[in-house]
Every structure is written in C-alpha cells, then in structure tokens.
Symmetry: C2
Subunit: 150 residues, 2 copies
C-alpha cells in the first residue's frame, strides 16, 4: 500500500522524516555537501537508478533543499546545488555520521572522516541549553502541542 505520510504531523521529527526520510534523499544531500553537482555525478557515485534519482532530485528541488542552476563550466547543462534550507541539514548528516562511526564500524575498520579547514577531526555535536550548558537526552523532554504542563 501507499506509504503512510507524516506531512501534517505536530511533531517536527515526523515532518522532517516525511520530507527527507526516504532511502536516498539524505545520501544525495551528503554528496551535495561533498561538492557533487551534476546528475551524472550523483548517479555514478550512488549507483542509484536514473529514474529514482530524477524523482528524488525533483522532490528535493520542490522542497527547496536543492536548486537548479546553470552549469558552472559554461556548458548548456544544469547543476543541482544546496540552498540555505539544504545547508541547514548539515547537523542531520553529521549526527548520522557520528553515530555510524561510533556504532557501525569494527575497531580499526577504516571510514571517511569529517575534518575542519586545518585537517583536524571535528568534535561531537553538542546540544546546549539556552544558557549554554551542554545537555544530554535525560536532561530534556518533549512538550506536546496543547500541553499545559510546564
């Protein structure tokens, strides 16, 4: 049957997953962060079927995550680049990366790493309180819509 949609959910997590939580979208975004721009680049690098890629790119453009611009090499082709909204997905990609690094590789097994401009490995993502104190999961809770609880 048709996949259940969450586009009208109260929960932002559900809406986010509805938008970009499918099997390919975040990998396309990851590759876009990596500098890939052309249809053929994505297709080759991901090994995705062309029809699937067409559909995903179209949806990401519709969502405002990617936009099509004239090719930077002066040819008549188009390129796909991240918009501001797309670049805002950076923490999502990084958090997945960090969880994957820590939990899905054997000790010593090589993987790509995220480094800063100096080539130094980056630290772990931190969730700060309003006052700037680092929080972990047990310091937080979700306040539901309409909840009067303070």
């Amino acid at each position: 049957m048709k996949r259940t949609g969450f586009a009208r959910a109260d929960c932002p997590v559900a809406r986010a997953l509805d938008a970009i939580g499918d099997w390919w979208s975040l990998l396309i975004v990851r590759d876009a962060f990596d500098g890939l721009r052309r249809f053929g680049d994505f297709q080759q690098n991901l090994g995705i079927a062309k029809g699937m890629l067409t559909a995903r790119l179209r949806k990401l453009v519709e969502l405002g995550v990617l936009e099509q611009v004239a090719a930077s090499d002066g040819s008549a082709y188009q390129e796909y680049v991240l918009t501001k909204r797309g670049r805002a997905l950076f923490p999502v990609v990084v958090s997945l990366r960090q969880w994957g690094e820590a939990n899905l590789f054997a000790r010593g097994e090589p993987h790509s790493v995220l480094v800063d401009a100096q080539g130094e490995r980056v630290g772990q993502l931190v969730l700060p309180s309003k006052a700037g104190r680092p929080l972990n999961w047990s310091d937080t809770r979700v306040k539901k819509v309409g909840s009067r609880k303070r």
Copy 2:
C-alpha cells in the same frame, strides 16, 4: 526490486542510513525517547501496521538500539527500551527536529518543542572543532578512506 543496501559502505552516513534510515525506525526511537515502552503503545501512537512494527522492533533489537526487558509493572509481558547505542541516536532525532521546526512549519503553526528540565527551550546543536570553536558546513570537508590529502 530489493532495496539497495549500504551496510558495507566506507561512509558512516551510508551505514547509518542502512541501519535506521527506513520509514519507521527513527519514529520508533523518537517515541522511545518519549518514554513509550510497550508494543501496543508504539502501535497506537504511530498508527503503524502490526506486522511492520514487529519487523522494525526485531531489527532494532538485532542492531542493539533497543532491548527487551521484563515489563516494569510486574506483568508477564515484555517492554522495549533504548540501549546506550539507542540513546546515542539523540543528536540524530534532535537535528531532524530542529530542521523540521525551522523549515516545515508555517509561521505561528504549533508544534511540539524540546525543553530542558526547567522547561526552557533548548538551543541549536553545535559542531565544535577539536579546540571547541563552533564550525559550520563550509569549515569542514570529508576526508575519504585512503585519501592522502591533508
């Protein structure tokens, strides 16, 4: 056809999506962070088909994201709770939440919010450099496996 797998990819993002990037897993994890523990709680709250939920819970247990424990109310039933590995998904859920809040709700449209123990809204996730300086996407790049580039 069978969905393409990324379990052996070099990229931790790809492996993470292979593990938990399907349509339901992260919503189940979100609900687990929210305190849901029983099969029926997940099933009702998500509106997911029972067969789907069974399959997803089984996979999450296999992955070590959830574990089954005896019910806390003393009944003969089992409950599903997050393991350490599952709790490590906190930044993933939070990053999706923050992106969804900022990009998928109309101005003024209500949504659930993440608050700290004092009921204060939390800040934005921050990626620090090794030295603690906040980084954004343009300050970073991915060093591929086997890459000699510094």
